[in-house]
């Protein structure tokens, strides 16, 4: 099964072949988990989400039409699932807060190079990952969808029920927050 082409594995998986589904899990669970981990903010809920995505896959694989590469499709399914989970968690208010994003003016960028733009070591990478994880949900989710899942502003806006401009603002705010957190970490 490990040597099979993805297309063959998918073919088998469509027929609900358990080995094929397990193979898909073996190949993509890390990436799915990675996305869940970034979106959900905790390992535990990310593990839940990963499991649920692959359980869902058994049913939803039939709807994969091959128009986009399978990994991208799977990550899209994953991000949809995570956003649903986040939305359920915060049913009482919109998952991504629009309030502050739309109204508050953006402050001017501080002088000097951004700690995010420098060449970074493994240790610094870990620090950045940690800083991303510590971002509030309404900053973290668009950031991950943009730079992990490579989604465009329109798609992010659609998924999160936001206006396109708000997505841009949230992304910039997320980066600024990261800059502040990382700069503070270096002091």
């Amino acid at each position: 099964m490990e040597d099979l082409e993805l297309e063959s594995v998918l073919q088998l998986a469509r027929g609900h072949d358990a080995d094929a589904l397990a193979e898909l899990y073996r190949r993509y669970s890390r990436r799915v988990f990675g996305l869940c981990r970034y979106l959900m903010g905790s390992t535990e809920t990310a593990e839940d989400a990963t499991s649920e995505v692959f359980l869902k896959l058994q049913r939803s694989i039939d709807s994969y039409d091959g128009s986009v590469p399978f990994p991208s499709w799977l990550l899209r399914v994953t991000s949809n699932h995570c956003i649903d989970m986040l939305r359920r968690k915060r049913r009482e208010r919109q998952v991504i807060g629009e309030t502050e994003a739309g109204t508050a003016p953006l402050e001017v960028a501080g002088p000097g190079p951004s700690p995010l733009s420098e060449v970074i070591s493994a240790e610094q990478q870990a620090a950045i990952r940690q800083a991303i994880a510590s971002l509030p949900e309404n900053y973290r989710v668009p950031l991950v969808l943009r730079y992990y899942s490579d989604l465009g502003y329109d798609e992010i806006a659609h998924k999160l029920g936001l206006k396109r401009d708000h997505v841009a603002v949230l992304l910039l705010r997320a980066k600024r927050k990261l800059r502040v957190v990382l700069a503070r970490g270096r002091e």
Binding site: R30, F33, R37, Y38, S51, S117, E118, Q125, R146
Partner: protein, 536 residues
Amino acid sequence: MDCFSELTYATFVDGELAAEEARQVRNHLAACSRCRDLVESLRAENRVLQEVLRELPQEAGERAGLAWFPRSWVWGDLAVVTAMLALSAIVSQWFDEQRVPEVLEWLNPFSSAGSMNLVFNLSYYFGRGGVAMLTHYAEIVGWLSLLCLLGSSALLLGRRWGRSRSGLCLLTVLLALSLPSLALERRHSEFVTVAANETVDDSLVATGNTVRMDGVVNGDLLVFGRTVEVSGTVKGDLLSWAQKTEVRGTVEGHIYTFSQSLDVSGQVGHSIYAWVQSLRIEDKGHVGDGIVAGAADVVLEGNVTRSVTVFTGSADVSGNIGRDLTMAGGNFTLANSARVGGNLTARVRRQNDVHIADGSTIAGKRDIQIQVKESRFAHPKFYFFQAVWLLAAILVGWLGLVLFPAFFHGASEAVGAGWRSVGLGFVVLVGAPVAMIVAAVTLVGIPLALMLLFSYLAAIYLAKVWVGAFLGKLLLKRDIATTRDWLLGLLVGLLIITVGEFIPFVGGLIRFAVVCLGLGAFAWQLYRASRPVATT
């Protein structure tokens, strides 16, 4: 041309700017080096972000080899149980720090004071209530255990359905945090003193053989000790758990006590709530509010501003009570000097038990109720409660049978061993409390002692169930094939035991025999369960 905003440049770098605006930006960048630097920096930032996010979080690697079934909820529940155990550990650690067992030396049967005390208390309690008291106590604990069981099940099921994990975690954390956040001053030694010129600004927790408070405590005073003497001033409440509590000074708040004796010759600002063997308010003593107490002996010589309610074996009143006096129990004496500002209500067994001196003053009504020792069997309430207890026992038996079928069947069969069960049961009945006390005095054994205590009381309660089931089977003379048969047998057996327990004189003996039989069967079944190939 003016520079664009950082937001515009960020959108531009993301390739999300409209074509026309993007062209304008490019034109501007060609002319403005500052903005070029900014855009470069934003591009580098995006690269780093993508690079970092592409590297999966460390935990992702650990998942590669895992099966892809969802995490079982059992793990979550295990986590909850672990959290609870951790919480218990914190609590027991806190208790350890208080070194409570040491100050409860008077409960230790191996010390002279302890053995005297144990003998005294046991003879007192057994004299009053006999084994019935123990079984009633066990019934309550049985119910509590059942409630705990149901509560835990609801909690676990609630977690599965309601995803209330975060709430539970919050509760656990809050509980855990609430322990250290008590922010009390703590003192512990053989002899704890607050000197006359000393002021404690916080609440004080004192544990010691003798705790003596001559100074001022601005908060509450919580005391665990053998002897507690308050000669100074407590601005808050006094909570004591001691053999002897003596208040000669001032307690501006309330007194809550669980002591062998409470003597008040000082001032109490508010009320006294006491569960004691002997309560005495001396002639100099003054209670600002009222008294509610359960005590073997009550002596009121001092002044109580409001009402007094006591459940007592004997009450002697020679002081001043501002409002009503209500007592229920054995002897009641109102001396010449006594004055009751409100009504006097006394519930006693015989008219002779009440002595009201002619010189005493009762401003309100005088209501002496003689509780003719009429048969309790005449009250429908009695049958109702018996039915409730019977149903409860059957419910517990059914639960036990569903949860631990082999053990319950085995235990009820082991009752049939007769003398072996009685003998073993007696040894357990007497030996277990000693084992608990020994475990508790080693400090680290406190959790074990508590577990033992719960198992002991639960087993005493269940004894009736096992003996009832055995008796039922014996009488119905048929094979118990189904749970229904077993429960029917249990009902018959329990009815017989319940009726038997109310036979005059013999009833107590039957009760005792049932407890011994059941405990013995339980111990034997435990022994067998621990030896899978044991022969009987």
